[in-house]
């Protein structure tokens, strides 16, 4: 119960930092990542990490302490809460200097406020060229190879990985000569249980690829964006070293698709193993 008693103090810190965060004018790097913003939202993320989702993370040591690395994870939800929790797990192990960058679906950058916060937190619009540049600069880069299909999964399909597109993330790792850490996030796919999709004409109206209908959205309006408090478990699998294949292998379609499938299987197996162990989604 100590967790509950600690809440008010931490919440006050989170609110103070959030007010600063809205002000803007941060010092940013060339990508728009603002280290001070990331520090300001730390208390809020710690709150979510420890008390809301009660995250446990295994195998964070598989993320190397330096050098470019690609983290491939399953993805859920419209807002990148999963990215923020993976980032928090890595920060707690390796410190703020190892703040991961993450590739975000195009249309997220059309959203007011969210787009600004995502960019200041290290998000960049998904692009091969930019991702390669980030990896060569030595960053931890998170990708969600399910892409848009992953975010729009129905409740009954949760933790069932979608196809990994064209394997672009494998090409990326091969070209940059960096390892891939397959990562399974359990809990994130229960935070916005989607009952149905709104008609696509409605989604087009607001510029989103789909609009979810959840028990709280659109019923509770903006409060429907508050994620449910499921219990999370993040598992980082051992890094897969692709360097023996060499950068030229990025043009070998068959190999790329094969490697992509292997990473997908690794994540899927880990998801199932974690799901079997857990007692219930919200306990």
């Amino acid at each position: 119960m100590s967790g509950v008693l600690a809440l008010p103090r931490e919440a006050a810190g989170a609110v103070a930092a959030a007010r600063r965060a809205i002000g803007g004018g941060y010092r940013e790097d060339a990508w728009g990542y603002a280290p001070q913003f990331a520090r300001d939202v730390e208390p809020l993320l710690d709150l979510l990490y420890d008390h809301w989702w009660r995250v446990s993370a295994d195998g964070v040591d598989h993320v190397p302490a330096r050098g470019g690395v690609l983290i491939a994870a399953n993805h859920a939800g419209v807002l990148p809460w999963d990215a923020s929790m993976i980032a928090t797990a890595i920060r707690r192990r390796h410190g703020a200097a190892r703040h991961p960058r993450f590739l975000v679906l195009d249309w997220a950058f059309e959203l007011p406020w969210a787009s600004v916060a995502i960019r200041r937190f290290g998000g960049v619009p998904a692009s091969q060229h930019d991702a390669l540049r980030l990896l060569r600069e030595g960053h931890v880069v998170m990708v969600f190879p399910e892409g848009e299909k992953g975010t729009g999964k129905a409740w009954s399909e949760r933790y069932h990985l979608e196809r990994f597109g064209r394997g672009g993330f494998i090409e990326l790792a091969l070209r940059a000569g960096v390892p891939i850490v397959p990562t399974a996030v359990v809990g994130s796919e229960e935070i916005y249980p989607m009952i149905a999709r709104a008609p696509s004409a409605l989604a087009r109206l607001v510029g989103a690829p789909y609009l979810p209908i959840t028990p709280t959205f659109p019923l509770l309006g903006p409060f429907g964006a508050i994620p449910l408090p499921s219990r999370w478990r993040i598992t980082f699998a051992p890094a897969v070293d692709l360097r023996p294949h060499g950068p030229e292998a990025a043009d070998d379609r068959a190999l790329v698709l094969d490697l992509s499938e292997r990473i997908r299987e690794t994540i899927q197996e880990q998801l199932e193993a974690t799901l079997v162990q857990r007692r219930g989604a919200f306990l």
Binding site: A30, D106, S115, P125, H129, D130
Partner: protein, 322 residues
């Protein structure tokens, strides 16, 4: 070896006059010939050969042949209306002007170099654009604004010319918005208004180019031309909110659906310069380009960062970093 003979179109505009003055001093340059409908300043006129002509006149070919140039700097491309150049004429000047100029240039036997002052505005301002747009992305997104379409069209003309004239090196410089203390455009005027309207909920990344650096880049391309488009921009893009903070401007956020109307009212009231669709989209989504080609192939490095260019344009001495 005889020196170079260089023709500059739009010689009386900001870039034309400064570039002509710089090149006229260059010992490797035999003659600078300027072409414009408006006469250049008296001082410059004494140092160059001035031809008062429109790019679209039938005599253009004769003028070019008589000048016998080896280098052509196409600088008569306007994003904003100027005195004597109404908004409705800009498309004609930009596109038909380029078409006529290149048709005449095709008949010049001694031509070796073409440098075009194009604009990074060709990429538009897109929410999903890469953080560093490379030169090959020019047509990834639809060309939405009038100026974007003009630039797209005239760059296609240059591409076609370059294909048909393999002996000519055609450099297309795509300049990010140029700012500086002497340049007067709606963008630089925007930097001097006391309160800047921003789009509520958006904080775009912006990247600019100092006016001196823009002239230096053009000169660099004349001296050391490379084939194809090259992005030209200052290093270190920054967010609009930080730019406003550092130039001590106040901002008032306006919701996007009513932004156009509010900005329009402010323009009519005289509080704001006229805002083109390009500027409106830029203020919402920004634009930042990759400059690898500029530094590695063109061999050009701007002296001022985006922030330094901004502070200079806004008339603020560079302050302590913070």
């Amino acid at each position: 070896m005889p020196g170079r003979r260089i023709l500059i179109t739009g010689v009386s505009n900001f870039w034309g006059s400064r570039l002509a003055a710089r090149l006229a001093e260059d010992p490797g340059v035999d003659r600078v010939i300027g072409l414009d409908t408006r006469p250049p300043g008296r001082l410059l006129r004494a140092r160059i050969t001035f031809i008062e002509a429109d790019l679209r006149t039938p005599e253009l070919g004769a003028h070019l042949r008589a000048a016998a140039v080896d280098t052509l700097v196409h600088n008569d491309i306007s994003q904003f209306p100027e005195p004597g150049r109404a908004a409705r004429d800009l498309h004609d000047i930009n596109v038909v002007g380029t078409l006529r100029l290149l048709a005449a240039a095709a008949a010049l036997p001694g031509l070796r170099t073409v440098v075009v002052r194009s604009a990074a505005a060709i990429y538009g301002s897109e929410p999903s654009a890469p953080s560093f747009i490379t030169e090959d992305q020019a047509r990834r997104f639809p060309l939405r604004t009038r100026f974007q379409r003009d630039v797209g069209e005239l760059e296609r003309l240059v591409e076609g010319f370059a294909r048909r004239a393999p002996a000519v090196t055609c450099t297309v410089l795509r300049l990010q918005p140029v700012v500086g203390p002497t340049l007067d455009t709606p963008i630089t005027r925007m930097l001097r208004v006391p309160v800047v309207p921003t789009v509520l909920g958006f904080d775009p990344r912006i990247q600019l180019l100092d006016e001196d650096d823009s002239i230096a880049a053009l000169r660099c391309a004349v001296v050391h031309p490379v084939d194809g488009p090259v992005n030209v921009a200052a290093s270190e893009p920054i967010s609009l909110s930080r730019a406003l903070k550092r130039t001590r401007r106040r901002s008032v956020p306006i919701a996007h659906p009513i932004y156009g109307q509010v900005a329009g009212a402010l323009v009519r009231a005289g509080g704001l310069p006229p805002l083109s669709e390009d500027i409106l989209r830029y203020l919402r989504y920004g634009r930042t380009v990759d400059t690898t080609r500029m530094s590695e192939e063109l061999g050009f490095t701007p002296l001022r960062t985006t922030l330094a260019a901004l502070e200079r344009a806004a008339g603020i001495a560079p302050g302590v970093p913070g």
